[in-house]
Symmetry: C2
Subunit: 218 residues, 2 copies
DNA sequence: ATAATAGTGTCTATGAGACAGTATAGC
DNA sequence: GCTATACTGTCTCATAGACACTATTAT
């Protein structure tokens, strides 16, 4: 035991990192910040905050969403906890990652501390290596993508990416974007009917048949 | 920012807590320790260790498995990270929970520090309220059970609970114990064939038809 | 009428569930 | 032979996938 005294009294820092997914221009995008300081100055990173002693992990995540994206009351779930020793070159930081899904209309990026810029980037450009990513955030992003692609198949999380009211073709498009493949209308509708109901209203003003508006079933 | 200075420089402790599942006497059991010190003296808790500065989370979990159950090289995966502020009355401890699945023959409980006793207890008796559980370990256990019950349906994790070679009736029993319901032989076999192959050997010596031994397919 | 998109009906293939049957060991 | 457990064949039903069809708006 003696030889570990130092290790046993020092403590790691704990942070939360946030994967804020949204859909813009028919693309799945992530909120990323450009770092203005070392380490990884000029690199892109997930927004995140350190966990304070007077807040839970979920509260820290909510605070991060508020501070760095102007988001409140949105869908959020814990993803995974990353604990490699050297994931941050400055010091030992354990990162609890969270996934958030939000309609584009709610996103309001805030340029915060230690950050040059905040913006939405497609997961394609982020993953294709065209952006320099800080820390182990590439791994976190890959894992987060895998999670939402799996989860969307059997849990109604896609509703978080549209407004209160939506058309079924619109919702279907969200599924197609996340899954990366086209779906059959008829089959999609049969599957989703369980979770939605008609509002009674319709779209209109376009030169084609209007669409019934739906809402998430209680 | 000023008012948070204290919170920002203090750090929480980080621990790993281990859900070691095994099967004994046709029951699903968990490795639990009886605490010999306050807080929760005399209560039962999941085995766990503090994460040291020179080890990753996975390494800490492996060390905990080794130190408290004499287990090495076993199946293990991260479950969830628990961060309520008062989950430990002494101080702020964030707990990263891990699930381990292991054949009973490998389990070798070790009575360690701050522990009166270590043993295997059925999840039924643990959850029925007949055992006093320390901290938020009841929540962790419920969540872990939910995870393995879901996961066993579509991932070949049950193999971790049997030996190298096993019969199909034996494997089916594992599924029935975890899922808590009987399965049809024929259907179970059709589903599991994808993952197993015959070794060529058979059981014998009992007063009924012998059974073919199988191994996990590479 | 035409273009464009919304919405429906239905056939088929796949897989889960249910159940009845056959096989092989010890006694 | 009997008992006990291992193993197999096959019917049914629910569901996912494929695709063709009909409906309704603006121009």
């Amino acid at each position: 035991m003696k030889k570990y005294d130092k290790d046993m009294y020092e403590k790691p820092s704990v942070a939360v990192d946030l994967l804020v997914f949204t859909i813009e221009e028919n693309k799945l995008k992530l909120l990323m910040v450009e770092r203005s300081e070392e380490p990884f100055k000029g690199y892109y990173a997930l927004p995140g905050v350190f966990v304070r002693m007077n807040e839970t992990l979920d509260e820290a995540a909510r605070r991060g969403l508020e501070e760095e994206a102007g988001l409140s009351e949105i869908y959020m779930e814990q993803l995974y906890t990353w604990g490699d020793i050297q994931r941050d070159p400055r010091m030992r930081i354990i990162s609890v990652s969270y996934i958030a899904l939000v309609a584009k209309s709610k996103v309001n990026p805030v340029v915060g501390q230690r950050v040059l810029d905040v913006g939405l980037y497609t997961v394609d450009e982020i993953q294709k290596g065209s952006m320099k990513l800080a820390f182990d955030h590439d791994k976190i992003i890959s894992y987060g993508l895998e999670r939402i692609r799996n989860k969307i198949e059997y849990q109604p999380i896609a509703f978080e990416l549209v407004g209160e009211q939506f058309t079924l073709p619109e919702l279907q498009k969200i599924y197609e974007i996340i899954l990366g493949k086209p779906l059959y209308k008829a089959n999609f509708r049969k599957r989703i009917m369980e979770f939605v109901e008609e509002t009674g209203e319709m779209t209109g003003g376009e030169n084609h048949r209007p669409s019934k508006l739906h809402r998430r079933k209680s």
